[in-house]
C-alpha cells in the first residue's frame, strides 16, 4: 500500500501514532512488542517495538553485530526471543515453530537443497502441503517465470551461478505465498552488477506481488534505494526509523550520518541563538544552521552533519576566507562515480567529503586549493555523540 519512492511524500508516519483509531487502522503486517534477545554474556537485541505496514518494504540497516539478523531470525522463528511478542497480521506467532509461521526467509547464502533440481527445490513447500501434481507444476512454471529462469527447471543446483541460485531461493520462498517475506542480506555475496540487477528484480517483485518485505542489509545504498522505510540499527537498538529521504536528510546521530556515508560530522558548541538560525562553533569554523525546535542556549553541545551534496566548491581566490559555513582546503582525492564526482578535501585539520553532480564538476586536481561553502540548510543538528 505504501509505495514510497524517493520523490514521493512519505505515506507512513515516522513515529508510531500514540492513539490508535480503531477500525480505520489497518492491521500491521508485522508488529514487534518489546522483542529482545539476550545471550549469556551480551545483549543482541534490546527490547524494541517495531510495526511494519502491510505491503511495506522495510529495511533493517546496520553494521555487522548490530542485531539486525538476530531480529529477523526471531521474526522467522529460528531464534527464540528472550522476551517480547511477535505478531503477524494480528496473530501472535511468538510460540510457533518456524514451519508453522506464515512467512518465509531468504538466506544470505542460497541454501538450495543439493539433492533436488531447480524445479524440485521450488516444489519443496507446495509438496509438503500435499498440493496436486498439476498445481505444483503450474506453480513451478509461474515462479521460474517470475524470477526470469524459465527453462531452468531441470538444472542441478550446482550448475547455477550465485545470482541464479539466489533467484531460485527467492522463488522457493515466494511459491508458498508468504504474508511476509524476510530477506537476510540476500545479495551481499554477489558481485556488483548482479547485485544491482537483483535489486531491481526484488523491487519489481515487491511491486507486483504486494507482499510485505522485511529486508536486512549492511549496504546503505541498497537500503536507501529499495526501501519504503529504513530502520538504522546499532548495538541492538533501532537508532532511527524513517523513509530513506527523512533519514538521509535528517540523520538523528553522528553514527547514522556516517553510516549513510554523510562523512562531514562535526562536534560543535552553540555560540548564539538567533530567531531563525543557530550559530555554532566547531574549532576555528563557524557554522550557521536553521533553528531547531528544541530550546537551546549558548554553550550547548551538538553534532552537526554537513551534507556532502550541498557543499559548493570554488577555485580559491587566494584571499583568506571568513564567515560562517565557509573554509579553504586542499583537494586530497577525487573519485569519479558516474553521475557524481566525490572529492576528499583537507581543510581545518579534517577531511571533508564533497559530492558534485558530474555536470557541475570543474575537474579540480589533487593538490589544488579550493573554497568550500554551503547554505545553512545543508547542516543538520543532531544529539552530541
Amino acid at each position: 500500500m505504501s509505495q514510497v519512492g524517493t520523490g514521493a511524500p512519505p505515506s507512513l508516519p515516522v513515529a508510531q501514532p500514540s492513539t490508535r483509531t480503531g477500525a480505520t487502522t489497518p492491521v500491521a503486517a508485522v508488529e514487534l512488542r518489546g522483542l529482545e534477545k539476550r545471550f549469556a554474556t551480551q545483549v543482541a537485541v534490546y527490547p524494541l517495538d517495531l510495526t511494519v505496514a502491510a505491503g511495506e518494504f522495510l529495511t533493517l540497516l546496520g553494521p555487522s553485530g548490530c542485531g539486525k539478523t538476530t531480529l529477523l531470525r526471531m521474526i522467522a522463528g529460528l531464534e527464540v526471543p528472550s522476551g517480547g511478542r511477535v505478531h503477524v497480521f494480528g496473530q501472535d506467532i511468538t510460540d510457533r515453530p518456524p514451519n508453522k509461521r506464515p512467512l518465509n526467509l531468504v538466506f544470505q547464502r542460497a541454501t538450495l537443497f543439493p539433492h533436488l533440481n531447480v524445479a524440485d527445490n521450488i516444489a519443496f513447500g507446495p509438496k509438503l502441503r500435499r498440493a496436486s501434481r498439476e498445481e505444483v507444476s503450474q506453480k513451478q512454471e509461474a515462479m521460474l517465470e517470475l524470477v526470469d529462469l524459465a527453462g531452468y527447471g531441470s538444472r542441478r543446483v550446482s550448475e547455477l551461478s550465485g545470482g541464479q541460485a539466489q533467484r531460485v531461493a527467492l522463488a522457493r520462498a515466494l511459491v508458498n505465498k508468504p504474508r511476509v517475506l524476510l530477506l537476510d542480506e540476500p545479495l551481499s555475496a554477489l558481485d556488483l552488477a548482479v547485485r544491482r540487477q537483483l535489486q531491481r528484480k526484488l523491487k519489481e517483485i515487491h511491486r507486483t506481488l504486494g507482499t510485505t518485505f522485511v529486508y536486512v542489509t549492511h549496504d546503505q545504498e541498497e537500503a536507501l534505494s529499495m526501501s519504503d522505510r529504513v530502520a538504522v540499527m546499532r548495538g541492538g537498538r533501532i537508532q532511527q526509523l524513517g523513509t530513506p529521504k527523512e533519514i538521509y536528510q535528517g540523520p538523528c546521530s553522528g553514527f547514522v550520518a556516517r553510516f549513510l556515508g554523510l562523512g562531514n560530522v562535526l562536534d560543535s558548541t552553540v555560540i548564539a541563538v538567533h530567531p531563525d538560525e543557530l550559530e555554532l562553533g566547531a574549532g576555528a569554523l563557524r557554522v550557521v544552521v536553521e533553528r531547531i525546535p528544541s530550546p537551546t542556549s549558548p554553550g550547548d553541545r551538538f553534532s552537526i552533519v554537513v551534507r556532502p551534496d550541498m557543499i559548493e566548491l570554488r577555485p580559491s581566490s587566494g584571499a583568506a576566507v571568513s564567515g560562517a559555513n565557509t573554509l579553504s582546503g586542499t583537494v586530497s582525492d577525487v573519485r569519479f562515480g558516474g553521475s557524481v564526482v566525490h572529492y576528499s578535501i583537507a581543510g581545518l585539520e579534517r577531511d571533508w567529503q564533497v559530492s558534485l553532480p558530474a555536470g557541475e564538476d570543474r575537474n579540480y586536481q589533487v593538490g589544488s586549493v579550493v573554497d568550500l561553502s554551503w547554505p545553512r540548510s545543508a547542516g543538520v543538528v543532531m544529539a552530541p555523540e
Binding site: L105, P114, L128
Partner: protein, 259 residues
C-alpha cells in the same frame, strides 16, 4: 617431453607397497599353481584348488555363515547407531561427548578381551553359542567404526539447509524424510558396507562366541592348523576378492555422495 625422475619418495612408496602386498600376491598366485608344496619354480597352473574348495561343504557353509552374520550385524549396527549419530552430530546435547566416548570405547578393547568377556556373559545368561551370539559380538565390535565414519560425514551437514527446510514448512519428521535421509543415505550405506567388511574377516571375537559353527575365517584357521594346503590360498583369494569388492563399493558411496 621431460621424463619424470624417480626420486627417493617414489622408491620408498614402491618398497612399501611391495612389503604390504607381496604376501597377498604370493597367496593369490599359488592358489592357481599346480604343485602342492608351494615352492618356486612354478610347474603349471590349475583351477583344481578352487574346485576342491567349492566341493567342500565346510567352506561353502563358512561363506554363507559369514554373509549371514555380516548382513545381520550390518543392519543392526545401522539401525542402532544412525539415530545416535544424527542426534550427536548436531552438538546440541550437553553430554554428547560422553555418549560418543561410550560408542567409541569398544574400538580400544582388544578383540580377545571382548570375545572372552562375551563368552562369560553368554555362559552366565545360559545362552547357547551360535551365529546369534557371534552377531552380537560383531555388533559391539563394529559400532565404533560405523559411528566414526558416519559422524565424520554428518559433521559437514549444512545446518542452514535444515533451517531452510524448517522455514519452508517442514516439521521434524518431514525434514528427516525429505532432506536429511536423502542427503545422508549414501554415507549410511557406505558405513554399513564397512561393517560388512569388518565382520567378514573378524576372527578373535568369533572364535570365542561361535560354538560348533564356523565362519569363513574359522574354516581357514582350522584347515591351516592341520596342514598348509594350497586350497587355503584359494579360500584366501576368495576372501580378498570379497573384501575388495565391498571396499570399492564403499568408496564410491562415500566419496561420490553429495558434499
Amino acid at each position: 617431453m621431460r621424463r619424470r625422475r624417480i626420486g627417493a619418495l617414489e622408491l620408498y612408496v614402491g618398497a612399501m607397497f611391495i612389503v604390504m602386498f607381496f604376501p597377498l600376491v604370493v597367496l593369490v598366485l599359488f592358489s592357481f599353481v599346480k604343485s602342492g608344496d608351494m615352492r618356486f619354480p612354478i610347474t603349471g597352473f590349475t583351477l583344481s584348488w578352487y574346485r576342491e574348495v567349492f566341493s567342500d561343504s565346510s567352506v561353502l557353509d563358512g561363506i554363507l555363515n559369514s554373509l549371514e552374520v555380516g548382513i545381520f550385524a550390518g543392519l543392526i549396527v545401522t539401525c542402532i547407531v544412525t539415530p545416535a549419530v544424527l542426534l550427536l552430530s548436531r552438538g546440541r546435547l550437553r553430554w554428547a561427548g560422553g555418549v560418543a566416548a561410550v560408542l567409541i570405547a569398544p574400538a580400544a578393547l582388544p578383540g580377545i578381551v571382548i570375545g572372552v568377556s562375551l563368552l562369560n556373559l553368554f555362559g552366565d545368561l545360559r545362552m547357547t553359542l551360535s551365529l546369534v551370539t557371534v552377531t552380537v559380538g560383531h555388533v559391539i565390535y563394529c559400532i565404533p567404526f560405523f559411528y566414526l565414519i558416519l559422524n565424520a560425514r554428518l559433521k559437514n551437514f549444512d545446518r542452514h539447509l535444515e533451517e531452510a527446510a524448517m522455514d519452508l514448512g517442514a516439521g521434524p519428521w518431514q525434514r528427516f524424510r525429505r532432506l536429511v535421509l536423502p542427503l545422508t543415505a549414501p554415507a549410511i550405506l557406505g558405513a554399513t558396507m564397512v561393517v560388512l567388511a569388518l565382520s567378514w574377516d573378524e576372527f578373535q571375537i568369533t572364535f570365542f562366541t561361535i560354538g560348533d559353527r564356523s565362519t569363513l575365517p574359522l574354516v581357514i584357521w582350522s584347515r591351516a592348523r592341520r596342514v598348509i594346503d594350497p586350497s587355503v590360498n584359494a579360500i584366501g583369494t576368495l576372501m580378498i576378492a570379497g573384501s575388495l569388492l565391498i571396499v570399492l563399493l564403499t568408496r564410491r558411496l562415500i566419496v561420490e555422495s553429495y558434499s
